[in-house]
Amino acid sequence: MRALRIGLLLGFRQIQRANFWTTSLIIFVMMLTFLNLIAVSGILVGLIAGAEVAVREYATGDIIISAKDDEDRILDTQTFIRELESFPEITAYSVRYDGGGTLEANYKERRDLTGERDTAAVTVTGIDPIMEDEMTHLSELVVDGEYLSPDDEGKMLIGVYFLAEYAENFGDVFDTVENVKPGSIVRLSVGNISKEFEVKGIVESKVDEVNFTTFIPEREFRRLFNRLDRNADQIVVRVVDPDRNAEIKEALINSGLDDFAKIRTYEENVPKFLTDIKNTFDLLGTFIGSIGIIVASITIFIIIFINALSRKRHIGILKGIGIDRHVIEVAYVIQAAFYAVTGSLLGALVTYGFLIGYFDRNPISFPFSDGIMVADPYSTFIKFVVLFIITLIAGFIPAWIIVKQNTLNSILGRK
């Protein structure tokens, strides 16, 4: 305790009397190290988190209701919907009907009837345009043409991955049709039934599920797919407080709705590979950040070593007049701790006061997501503790090397 008290006095006085710019530079280096540790993994994880946010916002919402494992569709969907509407925590929902079909284009212009037809196998989703738009803002994703109206008949929205002009950037991996634009007439075939549709709009999103879908009004879907029982394939739900979606899911289950369908939160619906990628990116970020920690610890080592070496004689004199070596070591560890804490605090201030907000407002545009920055306070704290401990060690070792030298040799400046 005595060593700590005197070490604190010596350490703080050294910091106080040190050159302002040198101290500022060291703190700046520590701040960058902290940012490197937090921001690199934060942005890497944010890539996936951004994709998750987009999926939640534009595709799945907070709660996903689908057919039970032993059923094809949500049972008694209309009753289910009525029950759903009685929950005040639910702000929006969309009922979806899914099916597969074949889309054919350019058949009117085709001269050679023996040649290959311009077709693509497509996923078709029947929606109520207004409810879907309230739920997932689908109208915002229309990049060409217009969004569906509630009274539209024979109109469809088509995802860009089915259009050769858009999909060619990805190589020949998608089944596409050519020269389809808003206003083009296409034929959608389901089994033996075919119907002509006018492409009303083209939708493009960073959520692939949207790009891979053709949307038609639910009435037409039911007719085309002969789904007269009105049982849906999926209902996506948005709640007032997304963080409380698990509670609302429980409430839905408690009211017996799980007899009709499988009810999952968004988090339960996230594919495992996505969680694995997120964890891998976090690990990768930590690894890159660790290199930063090593650089910072070497920096601190050199700074403290030079500092202690230049004061070797004073260290010798302190030992000579009876000051315990631990006091002197504590003084240097205090300096290292000061640099680590101040740098980290500034880094945390920049992270939470600026960077996170900045990336939320201006996400980095990646092809598959709008990258945000994720910095979970708990993991930030753990990283700070690691940085702090390593800095203390980096401060202690050079002090220990200098302090352990022979007292008289230190006083006389001998090697």
């Binding site: 005595r2 006095l9 010596l10 006085r13 009397r17 009876g322 000051i323 315990d324 008289l408 006083i411």
Partner: protein, 234 residues
């Protein structure tokens, strides 16, 4: 009563064929309350002798007993504690911690002894007053002249009331006036408080306040000169 008894002190430096034999078998004893000066030319071994007597170095051969403790047998930690509790030091270039104020420089060994903060502060101020530096408590060493810094160093050395004060050429870096003031201060500590003092000096004039001058040459004591109880013709 002898407070320091050193017997057959040898100090060698180096290894194998490059050994320098600096002290070649010195026997010396210093009485409690005595003021002893060690004089000699450069390389005579006077500072090396003082380091053996002041527990800053360990003789290659021989024994040193201080205040009844055989110091050669102590381990490094015990030596540090012994120096803190029994000895005071004044080095030739003041050796104050540059980041600490005059008051804090004096407080440090007192705090190390376990004295409470406020008490150490009071004692430090008292010691600084005693060396004639009233009101200079908050000054940093860089804000003091050489003579003033040496006075603060003396205040630091005596604040803990050591049994023996060692001064290694305390006037070496001072002008004549400051040097005389510093030596007068050390002399008065011995004269008024019975402080045992061992001082290494080049200048005979500064040694005139001593009871005894030990003359050294080539690692041996060549002559012991007695100057009376309080020196300077008394």
């Amino acid at each position: 009563m002898s407070i320091i008894v050193a017997k057959n002190i040898h100090r060698k430096f180096g290894k194998d064929k490059l050994i320098t034999h600096v002290l070649k078998g010195i026997d010396i004893s210093i009485e409690e309350g005595e003021f002893v000066a060690i004089m000699g030319k450069s390389g005579a071994g006077k500072s090396t002798l003082m380091y053996q007597l002041s527990v800053l170095d360990e003789p290659t051969e021989g024994t040193v007993e201080i205040d009844g403790t055989e110091v050669v047998d102590l381990n490094e930690r015990e030596k540090t504690e012994f120096r803190l509790n029994t000895l005071g030091y004044v080095f030739q270039d003041y050796a104050l911690v540059p980041d600490l104020s005059a008051e804090e420089n004096v407080m440090i060994p007192l705090l190390m002894k376990g004295m409470p903060w406020e008490e150490a502060k009071l004692q430090a101020k008292k010691s600084i007053d005693e060396v004639g530096m009233v009101g200079k408590y908050p000054n940093l060493p860089s804000e003091l002249s050489g003579g003033e810094q040496q006075r603060v160093a003396i205040a630091r050395a005596i604040a803990g009331k050591p049994k023996i004060l060692f001064a290694d050429e305390p006037t070496a870096n001072l002008d004549t006036v400051s040097g005389t003031q510093v030596v007068d201060l050390i002399t008065s500590l011995n004269k008024n408080h019975g402080q045992t003092v061992v001082m290494v000096t080049h200048e005979r004039e500064y040694a005139m306040g001593c009871n005894r001058i030990i003359h050294m040459e080539d690692g041996l004591v060549t002559n012991i000169e007695y100057l009376g109880r309080f020196g300077r013709g008394e």
